[in-house]
């Protein structure tokens, strides 16, 4: 870990409860800025739950409580005075299942800028929509049908549309919750290439079930097991020389 760069997120003793059930048992982790951090682990290990603490999406679940401290650039994102709406504008999210709005491709991308008033004219908005779609690598495929519904695109295109939608708000962080799990290998390859490009600009945290994917796209990998963070290190270290037996068992397919 390069100690010189300041971490994007600093987490200390993060616990998440669903009612009486404790899903995460005190996580301490520093997530670096720029680059891709992957969360891996077997189903139900709490990696998605942890991901959703970074943009406070857990707030929308009834009975879900988050305790501990998460600092983003040194600021507590669970501060009582902080509006989660502003946090989410800075921390975009891509979900497991592509969820474009059943509106035109243009309106999908323009939705975020519109609600935040990021542009002052139609022309500016047009530019922003094009820029976002280009960054998401979708522009060439959809530039002639911006008025058509976003739900008419293929799964891989939909997922890139959702990324364009998130990028349009100009976030600093993009959270991805198993973004390729509903995609075929070709669409997955395109998505991974896109992640590779985006990491220059954004801090990306990705939850994935595919260890190969984690190995391909991420710089750092965190292994979760039963609500605990078992190991967090550079990706090549985790996959070649893990420091923990459980990590070893999981990446070699003995558990999971």
């Amino acid at each position: 870990m390069t100690e010189t760069t300041k971490p994007k997120f600093t987490c200390r003793d993060v616990r998440v409860h669903y009612g009486d059930f404790e899903a995460l048992h005190g996580i301490d982790i520093d997530i670096p800025d720029h680059g891709v951090t992957a969360f891996i682990g077997p189903s139900g290990c709490g990696k998605s739950t942890f991901l959703r603490t970074f943009n406070r999406m857990n707030d929308t679940i009834d009975g879900c409580r988050v305790s501990g401290q998460i600092l983003m650039d040194g600021e507590d994102i669970y501060d009582k005075n902080l509006d989660p709406v502003l946090l989410r504008a800075q921390v975009g999210m891509v979900f497991q299942k592509p969820n474009p709005f059943p509106k035109s491709i243009y309106d999908n991308v323009a939705y975020g800028p519109r609600i935040h008033g990021l542009t002052s004219s139609k022309a500016e908005l047009d530019v922003l929509v094009e820029k976002s779609l280009r960054r998401a690598g979708l522009w060439d495929e959809v530039k002639d049908r911006l008025k058509l519904s976003g739900t008419g695109l293929s799964g891989g295109q939909q997922q890139r549309l959702v990324i364009a939608r998130a990028i349009a708000v100009n976030p600093e962080v993009i959270l991805m919750d198993e973004p390729a799990s509903a995609l075929d290998p070709i669409a997955t390859a395109k998505l991974e290439a896109l992640i590779e490009e985006l990491k220059e600009r954004y801090c990306i945290i990705i939850v994935t079930h595919s260890m190969a994917q984690a190995a391909r796209v991420s710089d750092k990998t965190a292994f979760f097991y039963m609500g605990d963070l078992i190991e967090f290190d550079n990706t090549d270290k985790i996959f070649t020389n893990p420091g923990n037996d459980r990590t070893q068992d999981y990446i070699t397919g003995r558990t999971g």
């Binding site: 502003l86 975020g112 609600i115 959702v162 998130a166």
Partner: protein, 429 residues
Amino acid sequence: MTEKAFTSEAALKRLKKRRGKEWRFRLWGRAAIGFALAALAWLLISIVGTGYTAFQQNFMTLEFELSESVLAPDGTRDPEKLRGANYRRIVQTTMYELFPEVTDRKAKQELFGLTSASGATNKLRQMVYKNPDLIGKTVSVTVPASDQIDQLLKGYIKRDTDESRRKVSDQQIAWADTLKERGIIKKKFNRILFMNPDSRDPELAGIASAVIGSVMILVVAFVLAFPIGVGAAIYLDEFAPKNKFTDFIEININNLAAVPSIVFGLLGLAVFLNFMGMPRSIPLVGGMVLALRVFPTITIATRSALQGVSPSIVDGALSLGASHTQAVFQQKLPLAAPGILTGSIIGMAQALGETAPLLMIGMVAFVTEVPNSITEPATALPVQIFLWSDSAERAWAERTSAAIIVLLVVLITMNGFAIWLRNRLEQRR
């Protein structure tokens, strides 16, 4: 071994039993659907069969001499004074002239009975009121035949029943046939049914005031129930804290939808009329009562429409930094709109058919004027049907069925519109 398991005698027996079960279930399904279709067909045939003739009616085209000596012996042309003139005498004179050979007083009365007495006199009175210069001239006017003659010519009054047990005398039958031959009596499209308000004479009675009343009631009910119902549903589903109290409210709204409608009528009577002192039989009160009746239906439809929207859409909006309210109103509500609108239209169709609560708030009144505003007495289409169905004369039965046909057509149109709207809105996605 496996082969044996599927081809042994026991296996074949099991298979046969399974197929038999399936076959019996299909038979039941078809029988049920057949029964439902037969019931529907029976209803439609019986109602349309008695009602369709009411869309045509027998009219008499007659020459009326508006002689000054009868109408304005003092030479006045003041429309207000002319209103009280003796138009009945004019109609009588015209009728007697059709068969000059009739002299007997009783026979003359019967002859006069061929035409709709009040229909003809009212029509002449209105014409003269509008244009007093008509006095002294002869006008050709089409007036309805009396309901008895209309029913006779439509074949509802049987000619072969004994004269003493028939409302139309042999003499009248002969006259009516002659007039029909001479082209004076003709069957025409029945505008009266649609343009007139209620009347004591079946040949003059129409559904205009009932239709206008129903429209006003529905508008009031919709304006009140739609925002309340949809608002309550959105709040309960999206914003209300989930606790015992909201559960309790939820259960009560569901129960409200199942409360018999007459109870809402009693509530309206107690609250709007007795406590708040609002007038009886006005569409405003009717609409308020039906709004109470319909809003739980709208709330339930809205909630199920909202619950049908994939939560991932709201998640998507929230993750972009939309507030909860923005996510609900900008993303979720448009997707739920088809379901909400369909539910509301079906709720409105329900309201259109409601009779009992309207009876309780006095909308059962005999209204002979088409209402101009929601605070004037009116009646509603189902109530009008109820009133007519209670009347004894044969002509009312025909008109009752005709009014039912109109009501059914409106209901089918509303439901059809709901289906069309839903398909259209869902296609746009």
